[in-house]
Amino acid sequence: MARTTLTRTVLAAVSVVSLFALGACASDAGGEPAAGGETSGGADDGVITLGFSQVGAESGWRAANTKSIQDTLTVDNGFELKFSDAQQKQENQIQAIRSYITQGVDVIAFSPVVETGWDAVLQEAKSAGIPVILTDRAVDSSDETLYESFIGSDFVKEGEMAGEWVVEQYDGEGYQAVELQGTTGAAPAIDRKEGFESAIEGSDVEIIDSQTGNFTRAEGKTVMEGFLNKHDDIDLVFAHNDDMGLGAIEAIEAAGMTPGEDIKIVTIDAVKDGMQALVDGKINYIVECNPLLGPDLAEIAQKVVAGEEVEKRIVVKDEAFDQAAAEEALPTREY
C-alpha cells in the first residue's frame, strides 16, 4: 500500500512539473504573463516602454501588422515593447491594458477588437497619465481626449474604392452581389459596408445577401456555401478581407464554378495569399489596407512621450490592385 502511495506521489510530481512546462510554452506564445511584477524605468532612461495589445492572429493581414510593429519597436530603436495577443476578445484587451497601467508603461497602443465599451479602461489610463494611441481600428467614444492619436486606414474609403471599381466595370449588367462582412461590430466591417453601399448607390449592382464571415477563411467558406445553396445567380462577392475571399474561392470551386469568371470577387487587404489569387485570376480586384503601421506608431509614440502635439487622425495611404497591377507588385511586396 505504501509503495502505491509513493508511486502515485512520484507520478503526481512528474505531471505537475510537465504541466509547468506546458504552461510556460503557453505563456511564451501568448505574449507576456499578465502579472506585472517589475516596473519599467519610464522614459527617463531614454527607452520608451510601449504596451501593445494586438487583436489576435486571425488573418494574414494581422500577422503582417504584428511583424511590422515587432520589427520597428526594437531596443535598437529605443523601445521596450510589451506585446500581448487578445485572441479577438475585448475582455482580454481590457485586461492587457489594465496590466500595462499597473506596470506603469510610458505609452499604451492597441487595435480595438470592437468599437464600443472602452471608456472605462481608457479613463483609467488617462487618470494614470499614460497616453493611448489607437492603431488600425478606431473606438466609438464621445470623449476624444481619451486617446492621443488614431493611426490607420480610412475604412469607409476602402469600401468606396471597392464599390467604385465594381460600378465602373459592371454597371448596367444587373449584377447581384453578396457580401461577406467582417466581425460584427468591428470598425472595418461597419465602415467598409457603409463605403461599398454608398459607392454602388445609383448603379444597378444590388447586394442580395450579407452575412458575417468573422474575417476568417473557414467562416468565409461556410457562409459562401450557404449563399450558393440559397441563390442561383450570384455574380459578385464583396469580402471585407482577403481571407474570407479565399474561403469563398474554395466554396465556389467546390460548386463547380470558376472564381474570377463565373463569380467575380472583390476584397480588401492585399496580403500575400490574396495577391497571389489575384495574379492567378481567382480574385478580380483588391483594395489595399496597409498593415505596416510600425514606423508611424514609433514616430507618434516618440512625439507623445516628448510632449509634442500630434494629429488626432493619421490616415495611412492605401492603393488598389487589379490583376495586371498585382502581377507587377507581387514580387517586391513585403507582406
Binding site: A57, D85, N229
Partner: protein, 355 residues
C-alpha cells in the same frame, strides 16, 4: 404513434426534419442533389461534409461521457493537429508529394494520440476530476499550437492534403466518407462486442465494475486516447478545408458543440448508457442549424439567440420529465410507462454482481 413518440431519437430527428423543412421553404431547391464534375453537389452534401469534424469529435466525446468523464481539450487538440500537419508540409521541400502528406498526417495523429493518453493518464491513474484534467490541455493546447505555428496562420498549397478537405471519393466528400467510416467502425466494435457494456458499467459504477472484473482504468484510459485521436483527425479535416492552420480559431468551441451533440442525442452527462446513433443525429442537427442561419438569412446580430432557442427547444423536448409529460398526454389511460429498454446493457445486473 405513441411508440414512435417515445423512441429516444424521435425529437432530435424531428428537429432535424424541421430545420430541413425551414431551409426548403426559404430556398426551394435546398434538398436538390446534382452531379457536377463527376461528384455529387448540393446543400445536403455540404452538410454531410461540414458535419464530419464535429461528428468525429462528438464520437470521442460520447465514449468519454459514457465513462462518466468529459473532455474539454478536444478543441485545442484540433488546433494542435492542424498546426503540426501544416507546419510539416510547409517546411518540406516538396509539399505535393504524397509521402510528405502521409508523414504529416501520421505525425499529427501520433501527437494527438499522445495528448489523449496524457488526459487518460491524469484521469484514470492520478484520479483527477475529468473536467479539471482536460481543462489543463484545453488552455495549454492552444499555446502549444501557437508555438508550433510561431503565432502565424500557416498556409500551404498541397494537392494531396487538400483532398482531405475538398476531395471526393465515389462521388461523396472524402471528409464525410472518413468520418462516417470511423463512426461505423466504432459503433460496430462497441455494440457488437461487450466493449459497450463494459464502458457503460464503468460509467455507472466504476468501483463496482472494477470489483466485478472490468478493467475500468484501462477502459477510461482508452476512451481519452480515442477522443484525442478522433479530435486529431477532425483537426486534419478542418485545416484541409481551408488549407490553413489557425492556432487561435481552429476548432474553437467545438468541444461545446460536441457536448451539445451528445446531449441532443440523448446521452446523459452523468455517464453510463450512451447512444451513438443519437450523437450522429445531434451532430447533423448542429451542422444543419449553422447552414440554416445563412440560408434563411438570419441577421448576424440575432444568430446566437436563434441558435440558442433551437437548442433549448430540442433539449427541453429531450428531457426525461418533458417526455414523460408528453407520453402521459398522448396515453392518458395508462398510469405509468415502463422505462425504455436500452439496447445492450442492463446496468442493474452489473451492480448486483458487484455486490
Amino acid at each position: 404513434m405513441t411508440n414512435l413518440l417515445r423512441h429516444h431519437l424521435f425529437w432530435p430527428v424531428a428537429a432535424l426534419v424541421a430545420l430541413l423543412v425551414a431551409n426548403t421553404v426559404a430556398s426551394p431547391g435546398f434538398l436538390a442533389i446534382t452531379v457536377r464534375d463527376g461528384h455529387l453537389f448540393g446543400a445536403p452534401i455540404d452538410i454531410l461534409r461540414t458535419t464530419a469534424p464535429l461528428l468525429l469529435v462528438a464520437l470521442g466525446m460520447t465514449l468519454v461521457i459514457a465513462t462518466r468523464g468529459i473532455d474539454l481539450s478536444v478543441g485545442a487538440v484540433v488546433a494542435v493537429s492542424g498546426a503540426v500537419a501544416l507546419s510539416h508540409i510547409a517546411s518540406s521541400p516538396n509539399p505535393d508529394s504524397p509521402v510528405t502528406v502521409l508523414t504529416a498526417i501520421g505525425l499529427a495523429l501520433a501527437l494527438c494520440l499522445v495528448l489523449g493518453v496524457w488526459n487518460g493518464f491524469l484521469v484514470s491513474v492520478l484520479g483527477i476530476q475529468p473536467i479539471i484534467a482536460t481543462l489543463i490541455l484545453m488552455t495549454a493546447g492552444r499555446g502549444v499550437a501557437m508555438l508550433i505555428t510561431g503565432g502565424m496562420i500557416t498556409t500551404v498549397n498541397s494537392a494531396p492534403f487538400k483532398v482531405l478537405g475538398s476531395g471526393f471519393w465515389l462521388g461523396l466528400p472524402v471528409a464525410a466518407v472518413l468520418a462516417f467510416g470511423v463512426f461505423a467502425v466504432v459503433a460496430f466494435v462497441v455494440r457488437r462486442t461487450a466493449l459497450g457494456m463494459l464502458l457503460e458499467a464503468t460509467g455507472i459504477n466504476p468501483a463496482a465494475s472494477r470489483l466485478s472484473g472490468v478493467r475500468s482504468k484501462t477502459l477510461t484510459w482508452t476512451v481519452y486516447a480515442a477522443a484525442g485521436l478522433f479530435a486529431g483527425l477532425a483537426g486534419l479535416l478542418i485545416s484541409a478545408d481551408t488549407m490553413a492552420a489557425d492556432a487561435n480559431n481552429a476548432g474553437l468551441f467545438i468541444e461545446l458543440d460536441a457536448i451539445l451533440a451528445v446531449v441532443i442525442g440523448g446521452t446523459a452527462l452523468s455517464g453510463g448508457k450512451f447512444n451513438l446513433s443519437g450523437t450522429l443525429v445531434g451532430a447533423l442537427v448542429i451542422a444543419t442549424l449553422e447552414r440554416t442561419v445563412t440560408v434563411v438569412g438570419i441577421s448576424p446580430l440575432v444568430t446566437p439567440l436563434f441558435m440558442a432557442l433551437v437548442v433549448i427547444a430540442v433539449t427541453l423536448l429531450q428531457s426525461p420529465r418533458m417526455r414523460e409529460r408528453l407520453t402521459a398526454a398522448t396515453r392518458r389511460p395508462v398510469a405509468t410507462t415502463p422505462p425504455e429498454p436500452q439496447s445492450a446493457a442492463r446496468p442493474d445486473s452489473t451492480e448486483v454482481k458487484a455486490r
